[in-house]
Amino acid sequence: MNIVELGSVCKTYPEFRLNNVSFSLEEGKITGFIGRNGAGKTTTIKAMLNLIHTDGGEISYFGIPLKGHETEIKQRIGYSTGTLSWYPRKKIREISDVSRSFYNRWDEDAYRRYITLFGIDENKKPIELSEGMKVKFNLLLALSHRAEVLILDEPTSGLDPFSRDELLELFRTLKEHGVTVFFSTHITSDLERCADNIVYISRGEIKADCSAENFLQNYGYTGESLEEVFLRLEREAK
């Protein structure tokens, strides 16, 4: 069952156009969203979170259109990014305290569980955290309100190989708990390690939306690795 659907989403900037972006996310699966820098990954994610106004197209979660149901949908989804941190000089305890009052499904037990699992010290401030811990802190907030869908923008960027592996392992654990994970990346090995499905975007257009297995079958030549396929596709697109 598709839990998130994007249909013909368009957004035009003076220098860039997101062109008829359509894809869907399968419930309880990990979907990797890959594309080179500037391909439109962040713009698509911003559209999915209603942070930008699209020129056209439709976005729906759980069969409900985002337009007009934003508040209700945001209760059920979580967002995390590796590039932004919130309130860098406030204590994590304080940020969590304020955040919990917005969510009617906040699960204090889950919060305590993930705090321990991620090894987060509530008395620290985001400015004192490593990049990996910042991503985990954002994930902590998302998971504590029992988000059914996690939208993660470049969660592995800036992480060392060990932290990246740890995070990808966490995605697999979340999947086992029925959480749908959608993460953007430009690192192909991230996809190889955990993605069930791949959405490939190039120059603002979706070039592929299929299972990881089918992606290699449909777009790769014999013996080509995922990275080699992407590199060739990008070269051909020039």
């Binding site: 911003k46 942070l51 309130y87 860098p88 000089r89 917005f102």
Partner: protein, 217 residues
Amino acid sequence: MNPLLRKEMRLSASILSYLFIVFGFMTLLPGYPILCGVFFITLGIFQSFQSAREANDIVFSALLPVAKHDVVKGKYQFSVLIELCGMMVMAILTLVRMTVFSGAGIYRQNALMNANPFFLGMALLIFGMFNMIFVGGFFRTAYKFSRPFVTYIIVCFLLICIAESLHHIPGLEALNAFGFDHIGLQLSLMLAGALLYVLMTVLSYNKACDDFEKIDL
């Protein structure tokens, strides 16, 4: 307390917004343009907008399960709260000057404005201007605040200069009333200031909601 105001107070606010309420005590300064206290209180609110921008507060708020106009409401509620705290300090001290110190020579021999209900009306007018020019201006981009703040500074000091010197114009001496002199006129002017404050705040809030809705974050 609603969650957004709580978020503003605990996460977005700069400590200076609370500390600068103390500038309301400038109401007691003799021989000083006491309306400047209002400017300093708004300067404290400005600091919160600055620190909120550095903390990615607007994007954080927009990702919360709230309507976009609620993000605007939170900022207005916080600004109004600080302004009303400042007004409370100024109103109490004005009452002290109107009663206990009504005959004090140090206040009587003052070329500038006296602390009276007209002063409070002007303070409300300046707070209203801050909400309209600065807070409303900020939400045109939810990022740039230099131009709205500079514009507000110019308007604010023009108003302060006018208000502090108006009573020197023949026929307007009653504006500088001491004690409970000309109390009918004084209270009417304060009420007019309050009405303008409400009007400017509500109108700019509605416009800010429309502007914020159109912004790409």
